[in-house]
Amino acid sequence: MKRTIFLAAGALAAVGFALLPFFVFFRAELAYDLYFNQKIFYYHVPAAFMMFLSVFICGFASAKFLISRQPRWDDVAAAAGDLVVLFGALVLTSGPIWGKAAWGQYWVWDARLTTSLLLWMIFVAYALLRRFGGPGSERLAAGLALFGTADVPLVYFAVNFWKTQHPTNRVVPNLVGEMRTTFLIGAGAYLCFFLILLAARIALGRSERRLAEVEDLAVEIGRLE
């Protein structure tokens, strides 16, 4: 059953990503001011959605892990933490490409951009900690994720005091016609892709943990040096 869902989500993501360029270039209307440059939107915005989704999942799973101390929640947190870095990298590379066309600059120290960058950096720190923290760093990583998630609204308010020139949240709900269809295909493909990555990464984490457990056991009973 799990396998079927996994394969179905994978197939959906593949179809979605194959269809997306066709819709982006031939079906979606040209934006009135940016023309062709606006089209990166269909890749940028879903990636940002997935980034925030995985921040939320990572924070939630970390809190669950600290309360229940069940390693399966740690696997979920580790997987989601990695995905924040991945989708954040997509957001932070596609954004400046658009920014160069729209604002004439790759990067501006704007509220929305700074928030995303700081949030991404918290989770890069999280990934570094998981790689190089050594044994016993799960708890520490969970603490960092918890503090990081608590940081999200603060970072948001701290930099929102500055003026923003980033397009607002009202862009997505107000999409019309083929633009809306194209966006939904993109968001759907990204979501399916996100889910299979998350599931695969959780399974990988679990296998690694079990392997370590079995190795410890083997050393204990003298079958492994």
């Binding site: 918290i122 570094l128 900690l129 503090f147 608590a150």
Partner: protein
């Protein structure tokens, strides 16, 4: 069941802080090093931000806060390294005192170290960069104290957790700065607003309030999480 008299929360925290301060008073190692490092950083930054022998006035606040943050990390690492060298962290955690109180005591000790450094650093920015530190002394002190509390609280949690980790020297700043960055932003922006004269005062008050919220949130998260985060 044993019924030992539980030490009061505040008393336990005060004892831990007093212990740290007594150790420091005997050696003066951390505060001297931190203060010199802060002064050193200011000189380094003056090269980065000077133009024709003059440092840009907007840069002074940023230099002050960078010096505070960097020297704070130095003190933080050292204060916890002492516990590791003497293997005294285990003793502290095994004592009947509440773990939250131990954590608060360590954070309070660090706060005092940092405030001493700031008491030297603020006159230095005035002398070296001509910053108008006497313009709004109370608000500036409030900004520094609130940001220092936030820094010490978050820092103490991570330093305590990192004690048993292999690469703690490199990991501490890497995980600490992204988390305390909102407090540092508030400090820099608030100081800049203070030094702009009275028309920017509402902004400075906004940042003071922001720091208060930052401290409250992270104090709550730290007290809630410290128990389960630090296990020996």
């Amino acid at each position: 069941m044993y019924h030992h008299r539980r030490m009061g929360f505040v008393r336990a925290a005060a004892l831990v802080a007093a212990k740290d301060l007594r150790v420091e008073l005997r050696t003066r190692e951390v505060v001297y090093t931190m203060t010199f490092f802060a002064a050193l950083l200011m000189v380094l930054f003056s090269f980065a931000f000077s133009q024709g022998g003059q440092v840009l006035p907007e840069a002074a606040g940023g230099i002050l806060w960078a010096a505070v943050a960097f020297s704070g990390t130095l003190g933080l690492a050292r204060a916890f390294e002492r516990e590791r060298e003497g293997d005294t962290m285990r003793g502290l955690l095994l004592s009947p005192a509440d773990r939250g109180a131990i954590f608060l005591g360590k954070a309070a000790g660090l706060c005092v170290y940092m405030l001493i450094v700031e008491a030297v650093a603020v006159p230095l920015v005035a002398i070296l960069f001509g910053a108008p530190v006497l313009e709004r002394p109370l608000e500036l002190a409030a900004l520094l104290i609130l940001a220092t509390i936030g820094f010490a609280v978050v820092g103490s949690v991570f330093a305590a957790m990192l004690l048993r980790t292999r690469s703690r020297e490199t990991l501490l700043p890497v995980i600490l700065y992204p988390i305390v960055l909102p407090a540092l932003i508030a400090g820099v922006k608030g100081t800049a607003a203070l030094w702009q004269g009275s028309r920017a005062l509402p902004q400075a008050h906004f940042w003071l309030l922001f720091l208060l919220v930052f401290d409250a949130i992270f104090l709550a998260v730290a007290l809630w999480a410290f128990e389960s985060l630090v296990v020996e």
